[in-house]
């Protein structure tokens, strides 16, 4: 027996054990146990909670005004008295601006995810399950949007609606909708040929009922996992757009905007760019780790495979 076969068997055994555990303790506790055992997910969650806490509680604890200027205290380094992370080129407290920047990033990410998940699920399910001209139409539109670079779409939206967070949310949401719709459609196409869908059809269930009761629960988990990936994309996109001036407008602090402002002072105050830059990295890392962990925990194919072991 080769090492590869051994590994395969170990994985098989582990999944079988997980399935049996879930039957014994109930699905919710089993899922929770799986989450606790996933170190990446744990690390990502802890990191995410820290960043999230900084974004939502930090400004209150700090008590500083993110737009209060002090021209006699510009470019202070981190650790300066009264300015934990130093000050920027206008003497504003860098810490509170980073905290608010996190909040802005997360708000954009939440908005984008809601839009893209809602529309992506609906469009993908309709296209995949209904087929025919409706599939061709939706697929054509989705492919058309997906073909556009994100930044270009954002520039077009900013041109029409003006700079700011709203056009950013719409632009990134639109492109992410296309991404999610493509994946959901593929999943639905695959699920449509499965026995339980055939059985539902044979049982005379209506199309909306099949979609809602049988398809939706099966694609929700992968869609959520995918959405968690696109949360990271949304955060990066918001930072990029703010960096080039299309995102949050002054005086609203944004991490991308702070990196952009700070790069002109790299020689005298490298922290001005570095701190928001590192914050973006931590934010994206935490979301990505959470996404990967959730995929490991929730991917239905893994559970189906495990269930298959018992049936055999």
């Amino acid at each position: 027996m080769t090492d590869q076969n051994l590994t395969h068997l170990e994985t098989w055994d582990r999944r079988q054990a997980e399935y049996e555990e879930s039957r014994r303790v109930g699905p919710i506790k089993a899922t929770f146990d799986r989450m606790l055992r996933n170190r990446l997910l744990l690390f990502g969650t802890v990191l995410g909670l820290i960043v999230l806490g900084a974004g939502f509680v930090g400004p209150t604890i700090s008590g500083a005004d993110p737009n209060l200027q002090n021209f006699s205290a510009t470019h202070l380094p981190p650790g300066s008295e009264g300015n934990l992370l130093g000050t920027d080129h206008l003497g504003r407290d860098q810490a509170v601006r980073v905290f608010i920047g996190i909040r802005v990033s997360l708000m954009v990410a939440a908005g984008v995810t809601l839009i893209s998940l809602a529309f992506g699920l609906v469009l993908g399910m309709f296209a995949g399950f209904l087929g025919g001209w409706r599939d061709r139409t939706i697929r054509g539109v989705v492919d058309f949007v997906w073909g556009f670079p994100l930044i270009l779409v954002a520039v077009l939206f900013a041109g029409g609606l003006g700079e700011g967070l709203f056009p950013v949310i719409l632009a990134v949401g639109l492109v992410n909708t296309a991404a999610i719709a493509r994946v959901v459609r593929g999943e639905v196409l695959s699920l449509s040929e499965r026995e339980f869908v055939e059985a539902a059809r044979a049982g005379g269930l209506s199309t909306p009922r099949i979609m809602w009761r049988h398809l939706f629960p099966n694609i929700l988990a992968p869609a959520l996992v995918l959405a968690s990936y696109y949360v990271a994309v949304a955060i990066i996109a918001e930072a990029a757009l703010s960096f080039i001036g299309l995102g949050a407008q002054p005086p609203t602090p944004s991490l991308g905007g702070m990196v952009s402002d700070g790069r002109n002072f790299l020689h005298i105050n490298p922290w001005a760019s570095t701190i928001p830059g590192v914050t973006i990295v931590l934010l994206v890392l935490s979301v990505s780790l959470i996404g990967d962990g959730l995929r490991d925990v929730f991917d239905p194919r893994l559970r189906h495979e495990a269930k298959g072991v018992e049936q055999e």
Partner: protein, 604 residues
């Protein structure tokens, strides 16, 4: 001019020579020769000579010099040229060739003096003006070989020598120059700057400029970029439509230029670069302080647009560019400590000010409100934080270094938040629960436009936050340069409510008149301000026949401006030019906005 200035900019050897000259140990000729041996160009040496003869601080020439005298005072440049040992041909062999790569801190404007809204360094390569300023600030001929003014000050004569051409090969004689100036009067939006000029006519080889009234400022505008000489026939062919109006789609200045300077227009790519090439048929220069009287040494000049302030110094240090106009203020110290580079700093005739569209009467219609806004601004703080001290706060319209600067303006517009709040209270603005004031149901909130350039954005953001402190919400809108100008320039309420504008002009009074005059609404009087007291001061200036009258008019203009606030003055910055030490003959000086390129060459 102090010795420390000499030593800082040109080195101790020059300082020693200057000391010897001032102590009369060496004569002028000897001084020029030894300066040449020390590698100092004739223009710089002449500038130092002129300064040695006059210990006064540099002053701007808002008054026209008595031209003939000024010519006589021109510091020995022609003599110095006679002493130059090498022949022009030999110098061409040694110095000819290469591309000068220059970093420029702004986006580029079209190369058309008649229709541009800004003129860039390329104008000094592509076009010649009829006159120019020399390093000592004296008016000297450039396209003209000579000029004079009548005793009554009502007639100026400029001699145009034979053999002058434009890039297309067209002859540019006195008639063509006069026709060009008539074109400026007819088509240029900035023509009002020389409104005391009545007519331009040709008389043989002379252009005769007749005045409506004697005016000490008559020559000033003619030395600027907007009066640089174009082949007017080519311009009309491309720029005037069948209806006799300017054709907005003209390719003149973008794809085609027919200028008179030593370089020809080759490429013009907004947001990226401009390229000019040496004009091989250049008839030669008449400008006394140019060392090179023939065609230019450089093969090409390429200006690269670098609006990201932090990138400018880095590109120079990396060798991506050879010369740089206006590095970021925070990088100047670093550049000065680099022995491979030379930094040249001097006062700049420029300023940042805020327009307030008076057609939004409910916001900016009353003086108390404008004064309240002005008092909320910590100009000194902004100079330190944003310009790193490389400039000065302005409480009136003029830079503090202008010779006609009126210090009495400093009684106005001082930073005082309490006073700002009380002025706004008195004006009827009531602080709302959300921290924004209202008056008669109108919320004190408006759109505030700024051009997408690093320093301007910082200034705008600083101002925005200070307005917030007194209950005024300015919603910042950062747009590119062309859009900014367009959105500032509309009539009525079509223009943005408030904008930040950076002006740059060799004679502050001239250009500020344009901003403040009721005759120039909406462009460039972006505030649409009609201030009778300012208008009266402008009228006084444009009828000033003597320096004394000019000074009095300038003083009244500044006081009226500071009190009535057609625009809110903020600060002005110093000009900074940097070149690597392989570049020679590139000598920006205080009197012209940009350097000339006739003498510039690059060491192999």
């Amino acid at each position: 001019m102090s010795d420390s200035w000499l030593e800082t900019d040109l080195g101790p050897e020059v300082n020693d020579l200057t000391e010897q000259y001032k102590a009369k140990k060496i004569g002028r000729r000897q001084f020029m020769k030894r300066m040449g041996a020390a590698g100092i160009g004739v223009a710089a040496a002449a500038s130092i000579l002129a300064a040695c003869g006059d210990d006064e601080e540099p002053t701007t020439t808002t008054a026209a010099p008595t031209t003939t005298e000024a010519m006589d005072d021109t510091p020995a440049t022609t003599e110095a040229m006679d002493d130059t040992p090498a022949t022009t041909e030999a110098m061409m062999d040694d110095r000819s060739g290469g591309t000068l790569r220059e970093g420029y801190n702004r986006d580029v404007s079209k190369h058309d003096p008649l229709t541009t809204n800004w003129y860039d360094p390329a104008f000094f390569a592509i076009y010649e003006a009829i006159l120019s300023n020399d390093p000592s600030g004296a008016t000297v001929p450039q396209f003209a070989s000579d000029f004079s003014v009548s005793d009554d000050g009502l007639e100026y004569r400029f001699t145009i020598p034979d053999g002058k051409l434009s890039h297309s090969g067209g002859t540019i004689n006195a008639e063509m120059v006069a026709e060009f100036y008539r074109g400026v009067q007819q088509y240029s939006f900035i023509a009002g700057l020389a409104s005391p000029v009545d007519t331009y006519e040709a008389n043989g080889s002379e252009v005769v400029m007749k005045m409506k009234n004697p005016w000490v400022g008559a020559l000033g505008p003619h030395k600027t970029g907007y009066w640089r000489i174009v082949n007017i026939n080519t311009w009309k062919e491309h720029s005037i439509g069948a209806d006799g109006n300017i054709n907005a789609a003209s390719i003149y200045g973008t794809e085609l230029v027919d200028g008179t300077g030593p370089f020809t227009h080759e490429q013009w790519v907004p947001g990226s670069h401009v390229l000019v090439k040496r004009w091989e048929d250049y008839p030669g220069s008449l400008t006394p302080f140019f060392e090179n009287k023939g065609k230019a040494y450089l093969d090409e000049i390429r200006w690269t647009v670098i609006t990201e302030a932090g990138q400018r110094a880095t590109q120079l240090e990396n060798g991506d560019i050879d010369t740089l106009i206006n590095p970021a203020h925070q990088d100047i110290g670093r550049l000065e400590s680099n022995s491979d580079l030379t930094v040249i700093r001097h006062p700049e005739w420029s300023g940042y000010h805020l327009s307030m569209n008076r057609d939004y009467e409910e916001l900016f219609g009353d003086r108390l409100t404008r004064q309240g806004l002005s008092h909320s601004l910590d100009r000194e703080g902004m100079v330190q934080a944003i310009l790193f001290g490389n400039g000065a706060a302005t409480y009136g319209p003029f830079p503090t270094t202008d010779r006609n600067y009126e210090p009495a303006v400093e009684q106005f517009n001082q930073f005082d938040v309490d006073l700002a709040n009380s002025k706004l209270d008195e004006a009827g603005w009531v602080m709302g629960s959300d921290g924004v004031r209202t008056r008669d149901g109108v919320r004190f909130e408006f759109r505030y436009l700024v051009e997408d350039e690093t320093t301007q954005k910082s200034v705008a953001e600083a101002v925005q936050a200070q307005f917030t402190n007194v209950g005024v919400q300015a919603n910042l809108d950062v747009v590119d340069r062309a859009l900014a100008f367009e959105q500032q320039s509309q009539p009525g309420r079509g223009s943005v409510e408030m904008s930040l504008f950076f002006w740059l002009w060799p004679i502050p009074l001239d250009v500020l008149i344009l901003f403040g005059s009721s005759a120039t609404v909406p462009v460039p009087n972006f505030s649409h301000a009609v201030e009778p007291r300012v208008d009266a001061a402008i009228a006084s200036w444009q009828t000033s026949a003597t320096d004394e009258q000019a000074r009095a008019a300038a003083s009244e203009f500044q006081l009226a401006w500071a009190e009535q606030l057609p625009f809110i003055p903020l600060m002005n910055q110093n000009a900074t030019f940097v070149h690597n030490n392989k570049v020679h003959g590139w000598q920006p000086f205080v009197w012209n906005l940009y350097p000339y390129y006739n003498d510039t060459w690059i060491e192999a």
